[in-house]
């Protein structure tokens, strides 16, 4: 690859404070669905990527972090505000910005070479040069020998290498990555991430800045100079954590663990239980419930109640010992907090008395406790129950609740939240649901 551009230091964030490569100014995004007023998914986001910087964006699903990345890339238009890339307004995908996709997004009918050449072909680069640059990028990313392979012949890790080669071959200034490693197994992801970081640190790529959307906290702490945590509903920058750990970073380093703990705490703090920082508002009917499965919740509470945890656990350790991904853990921890079974502080989850009681109880008692907490702490569940109690037939069509949810959430998200509350409610025997007719009722078959 021709590295004709001068590089600013990749690792040293302090020296690179100079210019913003790409910046968003008060970006808002509203999705209008049907006749309703529209839902705000991103709320005035001001952000700047400096030269030589890697920024990781974390946030639970639905916080709009992927949407934000697509706005930066020019794929999606912001409803308000704008994005500047090197001082120019971004209108549509700009030259100099490349993107790596979670699903790889390779064209299955093109070979590895064809996929890597694609961007050059679109730019009208002459054939010889195209071939040369593509082969160089393929070599760089460690895919030599696979030029004529079709994507379906490759493993996931190899496919994502093609994804990287396709992005790097156009010599991008800014590399955007949308959960690039999350479709890969842990080992493959680690190798690929390591290789990418080696290229970046050795300045073998002309890229001057990277933004990575991730849900893996360790990954973010390992590679980023700065972590942005997105809050949800509407998506906003909740927190910013600069990471000045020296490179290469080791996951076992105590300083590394401390940062991870801090990020965990930030990530798992639920608005309602968040004491100090913001308005402590109780969650509403339209709150995006985390789709935690009952089985996992019960399993987690049981695990927490016995040694080695005895009611208190370090979140990263818990994820490791219970074989949970960060994403799964974040969902479960949020659910525990919402239900009032646990609370988070200093990177630890601590069981609350109700959680202990639940773990110690038998099945019937557990259902009772769960039902109590649902009615008390989850407004949506309480609302459904109230409606059913009031109705003469003690039954209501799902459509009515879905419509209410769609005031706050997209159709898809509303369906997901409804499914979650139905699952919880069924376990608690708070209400019953008939799939065939789509009716929520009080009768238990």
């Amino acid at each position: 690859m021709s590295a004709d551009t001068s590089l600013s230091p990749g690792a040293n964030a302090g020296a690179a404070a100079a210019t913003a490569l790409i910046a968003s100014h008060a970006v808002c995004k509203t999705y209008t669905t049907g006749e309703s007023a529209g839902r705000l998914v991103l709320d005035h986001i001001d952000f700047a990527l400096k030269e030589g910087e890697i920024v990781a964006i974390l946030g639970k699903s639905g916080s709009g972090k992927s949407t934000f990345l697509r706005i930066l890339s020019g794929l999606t238009e912001p409803s308000e505000g704008g994005v500047d890339y090197r001082g120019n307004r971004v209108e549509g995908p700009a030259h100099g910005i490349a993107m790596v996709f979670q699903s790889f997004a390779l064209f299955p009918w093109l070979t590895v070479l064809g996929n890597v050449e694609l961007g050059l072909e679109a730019q009208g680069v002459p054939r010889e040069e195209r071939r040369q640059r593509a082969v160089a990028a393929i070599d760089l990313i460690g895919l030599d020998g696979f030029e004529s392979a079709y994507p379906k012949e490759l493993s996931g890790g190899m496919r994502q290498r093609v994804g990287f080669a396709r992005a790097l071959v156009v010599n991008p200034d800014v590399l955007l990555m949308d959960e690039p490693f999350s479709a890969l197994d842990v080992l493959t992801a680690e190798t690929l991430r390591g290789d990418m970081m080696d290229l970046w640190l050795a300045r073998r790529v002309p890229t001057k800045g990277i933004i990575i959307v991730s849900h893996n906290i360790e990954e973010a702490v390992e590679i980023a100079d700065r972590i942005i945590i997105f809050g949800s509903d509407p998506g906003c920058i909740r927190n910013e954590i600069p990471i000045s750990l020296p490179r290469p970073r080791s996951q076992s380093d105590p300083a590394f663990r401390r940062v991870v703990d801090e990020v965990y705490t930030q990530m798992t703090t639920v608005p309602g239980t968040e004491a100090a920082k913001r308005r402590a508002e109780p969650i509403g009917v339209g709150y995006r419930l985390p789709d935690a499965s009952i089985q996992q919740l019960v399993g987690l509470l049981e695990a927490l109640s016995i040694p080695p945890y005895d009611g208190r656990a370090d979140l990263p350790k818990l994820a490791e010992s219970e074989h949970l991904s960060t994403e799964e853990l974040v969902i479960l921890i949020e659910a525990l907090q919402l239900l009032g079974f646990g609370q988070v502080g200093g990177g630890d989850i601590e069981m609350m008395p109700a959680g202990r009681e639940f773990a110690a109880a038998d099945l019937q008692r557990r259902k009772q406790i769960f039902a109590d907490h649902l009615r008390r702490n989850i407004p949506l569940a309480a609302h459904i129950r109230r409606v059913l109690d009031e109705r003469p037939g003690h039954a209501a069509p799902e459509g009515r609740f879905l419509a209410e949810l769609e005031d706050y959430l997209s159709e898809e998200e509303a369906a997901k939240v409804f499914e979650t509350v139905i699952n919880w409610g069924r376990y608690a025997e708070l209400f019953a649901y008939d799939y065939d007719s789509g009716v929520v009722s009080l009768e238990n078959p």
Partner: protein
């Protein structure tokens, strides 16, 4: 590498050196070129209404007739391809166009194909006065209508189903809309499209045969082809000739399958959007030849170069200026106005049609035709039920034996492709000999060609039933009727519904030729809207043809909405295996 003409052949990589297959390929290519020249010359022959093109029953002429039939099919296929690319692209790219195009397509699908022939033939003749070309066009158009709609639907579905991440990648790497169409959307749609083409051609043989003998205002014209051959054979009560025609048709279907669809299906495997490599399809011999013979490399390089050139030009086209973005309110206003125009237009046309029909036909006759429709509906329903009773058990029995099933399936596809109307004379002879009731015994002809869809899909559905389920049923001792009710019937239901929908659509179409059948000067007529359309077409009575077609289409649409779409949704929602 830039292929330049005049480069020394020896310097080419070994894969370009002549191979054994070139010996086979060269005559084929030359033959194809000469064939095209011959066909276009034949088609543009002068012709005057009232003339009779001599159709000889001597089997020596059958290869030529078969060729003419195939060329008609090929013409229709190319036309369908072009039509569906344009139509589907328009529907997929513009929300407003979609609002009009997709419902129109849905209705077009329900209009009986031979109805198109009755309506359009005079127009085509007027287009090329004194030439045979008009009749040829009418026949090709009828075949076109049997293929174009579902190919278009397939393309449209594929176009709107292109995965979002691929779209984003294409935009991210600045593919122009033109490049995006050819590098992303079309390749993505190809596997489904080829499969659909194969199905369409299979269905199309029926209509080639039916449309070669065209009757206009009482004058009947026989276009040289297998269909005309058999219709002459029927007039002469020549069972031998019927046999020859059947053999010729069988050969044509096998050859087209081997030379066109097997290679195509194998080739489009690479376009399949599956993350994991699925089962490898054995390369058909013809594809092997295409890939090995150097001459085809030359041709494909030439075509590749032309494609590249067009893409390059397309890539250099200045990007379209962004459309002035209407404010949401203005956009909504345009939507409302557009909707109003559509509704008003539809109302106007509906009034026109009613006036046209009412000008000739009284309300008594309209009611009568509606009643005829009900009789045909009864036939279709009972036939589907009957065919299901027969083929579901047999299909399940075959499907439970995968080895047998894989051997039987191509054979069934072949049966579905075989134009059942070639077999009508045999049925008529039987009815006459045993003095059977025409009203009842003509009915099976309607499902003769389409019942195979039920069998095929039931086999496929049974094959797709996870063996786990069967093992569970065996362990739990689920047997007999319970086994059918709890395991097999729900398990194959989605596949069965697909098959039954296809079969029923085919039967409606076949009613026009199946309710009136001839043998020599004996004509057997059953009561039904199909017979009504056939008779009025022969008489050239346009308002009545329009009435019959409208009634038939209406039945199909209502029937689809009330029965099939509901069953289909039930299958999709509740009984999908995942």
């Amino acid at each position: 590498m830039n292929q330049r003409w005049g480069r020394p052949i020896v310097a080419w990589p070994s894969r370009f050196r002549p191979s054994f297959w070139d010996g086979v390929a060269l005559p084929l290519v030359l033959g194809a070129i000469m064939l095209l020249a011959w066909a276009s010359q034949q088609m543009s022959q002068p012709f005057h209404p009232g003339e009779q093109l001599p159709i000889s029953l001597d089997p020596i002429y059958l290869p030529e007739y078969a060729l003419r039939t195939v060329l008609r099919m090929a013409g229709a296929l190319v036309a369908s391809l072009v039509f569906s690319l344009v139509y589907a692209a328009a529907a997929a790219k513009s929300k407003r166009a979609e609002k009009l195009l997709i419902p129109v397509l849905d209705i077009l699908q329900s209009v009986p194909i031979l109805g198109f022939l009755s309506i359009t033939v005079t127009g085509f003749i007027a287009l090329f006065p004194g030439r045979l070309l008009g009749y040829e066009c009418a026949a090709i158009f009828a075949i076109f209508t049997s293929q174009a709609w579902n190919m278009t639907f397939s393309l449209y579905q594929s176009f709107i189903g292109v995965p979002n991440d691929l779209r984003e990648a294409a935009r991210m790497y600045h593919l122009s809309p033109w490049l995006r169409f050819w590098l992303l959307e079309v390749p993505f749609a190809l596997p489904q499209l080829v499969w659909n083409m194969m199905m369409s051609v299979a269905g199309g043989w029926f209509f080639v045969v039916a449309s070669e003998a065209i009757t206009v205002n009482g004058d009947s014209v026989l276009l040289p082809g297998i269909g005309s051959y058999i219709s002459v054979a029927i007039d002469h009560r020549d069972l031998h000739a019927v046999g020859y025609a059947i053999v010729a048709m069988l050969s044509v279907i096998v050859i087209v399958d081997q030379l066109l669809f097997r290679p195509l299906l194998a080739w489009v495997q690479r376009f399949k959007f599956e993350e994991v490599g699925s089962e490898e399809v054995e390369a058909p011999w013809f594809l092997v030849m295409l890939q090995r013979a150097r001459i085809f490399h030359l041709m494909s390089n030439l075509m590749g170069a032309m494609t590249k050139l067009s893409l390059r030009i397309g890539a250099k086209l200045p990007p379209l200026p962004p459309l002035p973005r209407a404010t949401p309110r203005a956009g909504k206003a345009i939507d409302v106005i557009w909707g109003a125009i559509l509704v008003a237009g539809a109302a106007l046309v509906a009034v026109e049609i009613v006036l046209f029909i009412r000008g000739e036909v009284g309300s008594g006759e309209i009611a009568h035709v509606v009643l005829l429709g009900a009789i045909t509906l009864l036939r279709v329903l009972s036939l589907i039920a009957l065919a299901s009773l027969v083929w579901v058990p047999i299909g399940v029995w075959i499907g439970l034996r995968p080895n047998l099933a894989h051997r039987v399936q191509p054979f069934i596809q072949f049966l579905a492709a075989f134009p059942a109307n070639l077999l009508f004379p045999i049925a008529v002879v039987t009815i006459l000999r045993y003095r059977l009731d025409v009203e009842i015994w003509v009915s099976p002809l309607m499902i003769l060609g389409t019942q195979w869809y039920i069998l095929y899909n039931v086999i496929a559905g049974t094959l797709g039933l996870p063996t786990d389920y069967q093992e569970v049923a065996a362990i739990l001792g689920v047997r007999k009727w319970l086994w059918w009710r709890r395991l097999v019937l729900p398990g194959i239901f989605p596949a069965f519904v697909t098959g039954a929908i296809t079969a029923s659509g085919g039967s409606w179409n076949a009613s026009i030729v199946a309710e009136v059948v001839k043998w020599g000067d004996t004509t057997l007529t059953a009561t039904g809207v199909g017979a009504y359309i056939a008779q009025e077409t022969a008489a050239g009575d346009f308002p009545r043809i329009a009435l019959g077609i409208a009634v038939l289409s209406l039945y199909v649409v209502v029937f689809n909405r009330l029965l099939w779409s509901r069953l289909y949704h039930l299958a999709e929602e509740r009984l999908r295996l995942d």
